[in-house]
């Protein structure tokens, strides 16, 4: 008898706990970023995620009055993680592409980028004849995709788990050229000691590259993010965050 009573009370409690949970879940938003894409997202010395993406995330959460949490996840696990509900949104400088749109929804853009080649100062290369050249990029990025589409079989292509490893191998001399997004690389050239030996090669291309926030297909969160984005663009919050990282507008 006692056992039964206990079971019933605990069931009631569990039920109550669950309803209160689902009430909270409405404004709880778990946002994932990568944490290896300075200055857009990176891990600071204390281990917390920082950067343009993260600042935008917090600004949006404030407008949405949502209870947010920012977590980090390796790049190629971001979309799979979103799909299986490990988090609710990706704010990780992710370009809006047709292939990604087949599996996730994107908000309007929150900045735009472009691809640009990078190599050692004093060297040059001919894009029509890359025989024997080794080109690196981060796996599952626009740059990697562009290389696969245009240079498979024409050059030696190498793909890395994150951008830091791409730079490491460039410094080690294993790579002749890297292809990556212009803005983070701009930051690397400016801010790291080793950056001064390298320079951009040629102009940026694919400048129609728009960066958006990824959410699950059909998630109402998309509309909320879009509204909040409009608000921060209108009230100057966006411009303040932009100015913190780049001396020019990246919208």
């Amino acid at each position: 008898m006692k056992m039964k009573k206990f079971a019933v009370t605990s069931l009631i409690f569990a039920g109550a706990a669950m309803t209160s949970l689902s009430v909270q879940a409405a404004d709880k938003v778990k946002i994932a970023t990568e944490g290896a894409w300075a200055p857009f997202n990176f891990i600071d010395d204390s281990g917390t995620a920082q950067g343009f993406d993260v600042d935008i995330a917090w600004a949006l959460c404030e407008k949405m009055k949502a209870d947010c949490e920012v977590v980090t996840q390796d790049w190629d696990g971001l979309i799979p993680g979103l799909k299986v509900r490990k988090f609710d949104a990706i704010i990780a400088s992710m370009s809006i592409t047709e292939e990604r749109l087949r599996v996730v929804d994107f908000t309007n853009k929150y900045y735009s980028g472009g691809l640009r080649f990078l190599g050692e100062k004093g060297t040059s290369f001919d894009l029509d004849n890359l025989d024997g050249k080794v080109i690196g990029a981060q796996r599952a990025t626009l740059g990697a995709q562009y290389l696969e589409d245009n240079f498979t079989g024409k050059a030696d292509l190498k793909f890395y788990d994150n951008q830091d490893n791409v730079y490491l191998d460039l410094l080690a001399g294993r790579l002749d050229i890297i292809l990556s997004d212009e803005l983070p690389t701009y930051n690397w050239l400016k801010s790291s000691e080793s950056g001064e030996k390298f320079e951009f090669k040629g102009d940026a291309f694919q400048k129609n590259d728009e960066i958006g926030i990824a959410v699950r297909k059909g998630d109402k969160l998309k509309a909320k993010f879009d509204k909040a984005l409009e608000e921060i663009l209108a009230d100057g919050t966006y411009a303040t965050i932009n100015a913190k990282y780049f001396p020019f507008s990246i919208y």
């Binding site: 690196g136 490491l168 191998d169």
Partner: protein
């Protein structure tokens, strides 16, 4: 589930499996070659000789394989000395970096397996060798090593399968082994479940082949351990 992607990308997965196969085969062969002297030094009666293999095994068994790969691949290339040395053409290649890390790692484990096998031989057999007047070399060549070979097989087969799965870490240094290839395909198709399932099945098939080979070798080598098959004459 979208299993059509598995069919269209299957040839590329097989290319990856071939790289995995080369990595595992080369590193276990090299690993076994290094492991034998390490194991013999490990059971030496002199503490001075024993300490080096002990430290070697302690280091490589006590640190993660991923760390070892990163040290060889990203670590070594930080030093100008390494980049200017004659080893750079080898250390430049991710394939050889993986081989180096895997060989060092598996040789440590294999040495321990060899040592255990040699020490598992009954003392009586060692004494018998000495009684008939064999030299140390003769004793090892004729009796101890062939005996140890039989004892080592089950544990060694295990180590090879562990190495097969450990080889997936090669994908972290840009190698397109089975796992690396799967991840590169997923970057394109966003179908992790389907592609990883297919890669998992290929790993399983490779393991099955390894298990089958070892079963055959064990059967031949350890015939004397098989079921007793004595004909008892009928009464009458």
């Amino acid at each position: 589930m979208e299993f059509s992607v598995v069919i269209s990308y299957f040839p590329r997965l097989l290319d990856g499996a071939w790289v995995t196969f080369q990595l595992v085969l080369l590193s276990i062969v090299l690993g076994a070659i290094f492991a034998l002297p390490i194991a013999l030094a490990r059971i030496s009666s002199s503490p001075l000789v024993r300490v080096f293999p002990f430290l070697y095994i302690f280091f490589f068994r006590g640190t993660p394989l991923l760390v070892q790969i990163f040290l060889v691949y990203y670590g070594a290339s930080q030093f100008e000395v390494v980049k200017e040395s004659i080893f750079w053409p080898i250390l430049r290649e991710p394939f050889w970096c993986a081989i180096i890390a895997f060989t060092l790692n598996t040789s440590a484990y294999t040495a321990e397996i060899f040592r255990g096998a040699i020490q598992a031989i009954p003392v009586g057999e060692v004494e018998a060798c000495k009684v008939v007047g064999m030299t140390r070399v003769q004793m090892y060549r004729r009796i101890l090593l062939p005996r140890a070979f039989g004892i080592v097989l089950p544990a060694y087969g295990n180590e090879i399968i562990l190495m097969l799965k450990g080889s997936a870490l090669a994908s972290t240094i840009t190698l397109l082994d089975l796992t690396g290839m799967a991840r590169t395909i997923i970057a394109r198709t966003y179908t992790p479940i389907e592609i990883f399932l297919a890669a998992g099945v290929i790993y399983l098939v490779i393991s099955m082949v390894i298990i089958a080979i070892f079963k055959q070798v064990e059967k031949r080598q350890n015939r004397y351990l098989g079921p007793i098959n004595v004909k008892v004459p009928d009464k009458g």
